[in-house]
């Protein structure tokens, strides 16, 4: 009897080990409903094939948020990618601002009042988009999104059914560019009952199914005001891992995605008949800041003469383009120059400053080896940059150590404890240089600890902020950026390319627009 009790106890013990299965069991039924659902959509493609071949696109995306409320957080980026929300203006492939929900705009003589004429648009439920609704949307955005707190000083006002006026306390030359932010989406605030899961908006698609932080299915908006979407619908798979995306593309489970990494790009290039790659210059910029408070002018100059951006771009295999300044070289505000890499000149500068090569082959002065710290974080290929820059510096005899931090903004950027700081940011938010210049060179900015900003630069930036003439803005921007290069305070290494891959025939998923926050449009097609 005792024996059987022990056996029972052992069994029970095993059961306890699996006790947590209990919480899993109820859940096990839930996901089993999911495949039925998804296979339903897939097969509906073949079942109803009789009238016309329905077109469903399968695309991988890099982020997924728990909500579809376009005004909050960064959710608007994704509702726009899904083709669900739209803004008054959009940025085109050539970086120009194009009207979308707005037909046109004008600004008052004093530059303080902007007037917008709205297009004859309607929401997916058929309700018209009125100026009053747009104004209320913008007020809601300012209220619920901390990033737009500055806008609380602006007034949004409906002049009539289709005319909207925005009044600003100061001149705000970049109004149109600002309004292209996906957060300025217009939703039907009255008819929407569940902003998180079912916002009613104006885009060519409407949500069919939405899993928070998961996959999303959209179908054509039959009430779309601006034509008819070519696709019947699309599934957007949340795939953050680069290998998963590559393999899903190879197994034929997805049709396209953007932000292809260097390794996957090299693999797609081996089979151009199956994969169409699109490479365009993007807006994310990789750069380094030289700490002028810790390094002598000759060392700063030597660093800039040593780092070879073209060579680095070559290593990164087409995922970035070598940069001169922070902006695309073709832009009017991207007209800056920098000297070609010249290791010999760099060595000469160091030697003139009293540095000599020691027994290990490193420059030293007064017995102290010149050792530079390169701070970076593990994202946006910065580790690659760090390794390559270290190697380039080593080749001229400068010792560099790599410091990697998990959170640069709380770490080296905040403390200023670096010789060279690597960083990546969006430099161009849509056809204007102010945003980037404001972020990089202000005396109150986060890079001020590196010792570059001066009162003259600050004055130039203030001038740029309120300058309304486009040509003047470009000239000012070029002057400021050129100064940052000439002073050897900044080094602009690369501009990320936007690399997209698609099956032949798939087009129009915003692969030609440099920004990350565009995706499906009415023109998206699978051929």
């Amino acid at each position: 009897m005792k024996q059987s009790r022990k056996v029972f106890a052992l069994l029970l013990a095993l059961c306890m080990v699996f006790a947590l299965a209990a919480c899993g069991q109820t859940a096990a039924q839930a996901p089993s409903a999911a495949p039925a659902d998804s296979s339903g959509t897939q097969s509906s493609g073949t079942e109803s094939a009789a009238p016309a071949e329905p077109k469903f696109l399968k695309m991988a995306v890099n982020f997924a948020y728990p909500s579809l409320d376009a005004h909050k957080d960064y959710y608007g980026w994704y509702t726009q990618i899904y083709g669900v929300t739209e803004t008054l203006f959009r940025i085109d492939a050539d970086m120009s601002v194009q009207p979308l929900l707005a037909k046109g705009s004008s600004v008052s003589e004093d530059g303080l009042t902007w007037t917008f004429e709205l297009a004859d648009a309607c929401f997916s439920n058929g309700n018209p988009v009125t100026a009053d609704m747009v104004a209320r949307n913008f007020r809601r955005l300012v209220e619920v999104n901390g990033r737009y707190e500055d806008w609380a000083a602006f007034t949004f006002e409906a002049k009539d059914e289709k005319t909207l006026a925005i009044t600003t306390p100061d001149v705000f030359p970049t109004m149109l560019v600002a309004l292209t932010d996906p957060e300025f989406a217009v939703m039907d605030l009255d008819a929407t009952t569940d902003f998180d899961n079912a916002p009613i908006a104006t885009g060519p698609f409407v949500i069919k199914s939405f899993k928070p932080e998961g996959d999303v299915e959209v179908v054509r908006n039959d009430n779309y005001w601006n034509g008819k979407a070519k696709l019947d619908g699309a599934t957007l798979f949340y795939m953050p891992d680069a290998d998963s995306k590559l393999l899903a593309m190879q197994s034929g489970e997805i049709d396209c995605y953007t932000s292809v990494d260097a390794a996957a790009k090299a693999i797609y290039e081996t089979d151009p008949s199956s994969y169409v790659l699109t490479v365009i210059p993007g807006t994310r910029m990789q750069f380094y800041v030289i700490n002028k408070t810790r390094l002598s002018d000759s060392v700063c100059a030597a660093i800039n003469l040593t780092v070879d951006c073209e060579a680095i771009a070559e290593y990164l295999k087409g995922t970035t383009s070598a940069a001169v300044g922070p902006f695309i070289a073709s832009a009017p505000y991207g007209q800056v120059t920098k000297p070609a890499p010249d290791p010999a000149a760099a060595k000469a500068l160091l030697e003139a400053d009293g540095y000599t090569l020691n027994a290990d082959g490193y420059y030293a002065k007064g017995g102290k080896v010149l050792e530079l710290s390169i701070c970076h974080y593990k994202s946006r290929q910065l580790p690659d940059l760090a390794v390559l820059m270290q190697e380039q510096l080593k080749n001229i005899g400068v010792k560099a150590t790599l410091v990697v931090q998990e959170d640069p903004d709380a770490g080296y950027v905040a403390t200023g404890d670096y010789d060279i700081a690597l960083y990546c940011m969006i430099a161009d938010t849509g056809g204007d240089p102010y945003y980037c210049i404001d972020a990089l060179y202000r005396e109150s900015g986060k890079w001020a600890k590196a010792g570059f900003p001066t009162d003259e630069i600050e004055a130039l930036i203030n001038k740029l902020q309120f300058e309304t003439d486009i040509d003047q803005r470009a000239a000012l921007a070029n002057q400021i950026v050129q100064e940052s290069i000439d002073m050897n305070a900044f080094g602009y290494v690369g501009l990320f390319n936007k690399v997209s891959v698609a099956r032949p025939g798939v087009s129009g998923f915003s692969e030609n627009i440099p920004f990350d926050f565009y995706g499906l449009t009415a023109d998206t097609d699978i051929g």
Binding site: K6, V7, A9, L10, L12, A13, M16, V17, F18, L20, C23, G24, A27, A30, P31, S32, A34, P35, S38, K58, Y65, P66, S67, K72, D73, Y74, W77, G146, R147, E149, D150, K211, G214, D215, F237, M239, P240, D241, D243, S244, L247, A248, Q250, S251, E253, I254, R284, Q405, E406, D407, D409, A410, G411, C424, M425, I426, T429, A439, K446, D516
Partner: protein, 312 residues
């Protein structure tokens, strides 16, 4: 027994308080600003004033103990706060993640256990045979390859080359197969080694040779051996379940499995304190509860441990 369990339950509460306090402290000391993280999520720079205002509204400027106390009081009422990242209730996020992680953990563990136990018995009985050598190789390889590599290899061969399984089938039964395989291969490798060692240990005991000399049927001897190894086997399995319920970050990310590991990793990179806190509180609860269950099993299986001085 009841008193023993009661005392252990008290310990349990103590441990959870200690763990949650430690986490709060460590996260507080670690660099990183939740407000800046929240606003900079997509790489758009925001002015210092806006960050400061956000910090204020998120309550990050309050003293450490106030933040902890506030959190703990709400946690006692079942309210783990809202995520900094998206303002969604942490408890709901955890429950959702737990569901998926539990499915994955239980299936992987069951699979690993089901494969490992018979193999361990066989290899222990036929030590140094060909089977033993092959099993050993498998378990070493499974145990020493990083799981992201195993995952990529599985995906490449099963999905791309053989087209056996879809890569995009997350959250479904089909989607469970691959993460389950990827997760159970290393566990299975470890289990085989540990179970085998344990069974061999028992086989070397005098009672085995004694029984054999007396002509007791092998079946019965094996039964005794297994019974006597069960304590250690239980410990090994129990300890793995804790790890597994913490979720596997890499595998959950690669296979798009919306479990706890992924949730926690996102929370850590976003400095999402409420989610990290909730996660730690949850995993620590699982750990201590499982340990408690194992200890109770010990004393049940082996009543000697219940004697005064023999119990823990």
């Amino acid at each position: 027994m009841a008193g023993y369990i009661g005392r252990r339950l008290l310990h349990l509460v103590g441990i959870m308080i200690a763990v949650s306090f430690l986490t709060f402290l460590l996260m507080y000391l670690a660099p990183g600003d939740a407000a800046a993280k929240k606003l900079n999520a997509q790489g758009v720079a925001v002015s210092e004033e806006i960050i400061e205002k956000t910090r204020e509204s998120m309550g990050l400027n309050r003293p450490f103990l106030v933040q902890y106390g506030d959190w703990a009081l709400h946690a006692l009422q079942g309210d783990l706060g809202n995520s900094y990242k998206d303002d969604f209730p942490v408890a709901g996020k955890l429950a959702r993640g737990l569901r998926y992680t539990a499915i994955l953990a239980v299936t992987s563990l069951a699979l690993a256990f089901a494969v490992a136990l018979p193999l361990a018995i066989l290899t222990a009985l036929h030590k140094d045979s060909l089977l033993d050598d092959i099993t050993r190789l498998f378990s070493f390889a499974g145990n020493s390859l990083p799981n992201f590599l195993i995952s990529v290899l599985l995906m490449y061969f099963l999905c791309v080359k053989a087209h056996l399984l879809p890569l995009t089938a997350s959250e479904s039964v089909k989607g469970l197969v691959m993460p389950c395989l990827a997760l159970s291969i290393p566990i299975c490798g470890r289990f085989i080694r540990q179970f085998r060692a344990e069974i061999l240990e028992q086989l070397g005991r005098p009672y085995v040779s004694g029984s054999m000399l007396r002509g007791v049927k092998q079946r019965y001897i094996l039964g005794n051996v297994l019974h006597n190894s069960s304590i250690s086997i239980l410990t090994i399995v129990g300890l793995s379940i804790g790890t597994l319920l913490g979720g596997s970050v890499v595998i959950e990310t690669i296979f798009r499995w919306p479990g706890l590991g992924k949730l926690a990793m996102d929370a850590i990179t976003n400095r999402d304190y409420p989610v990290i806190q909730g996660f730690v509180l949850f995993t620590s609860t699982v750990y201590v509860v499982i340990n408690l269950l194992i200890d109770i099993c010990y004393s049940w299986v082996d009543p000697r441990l219940r004697k005064p001085g023999g119990r823990s």
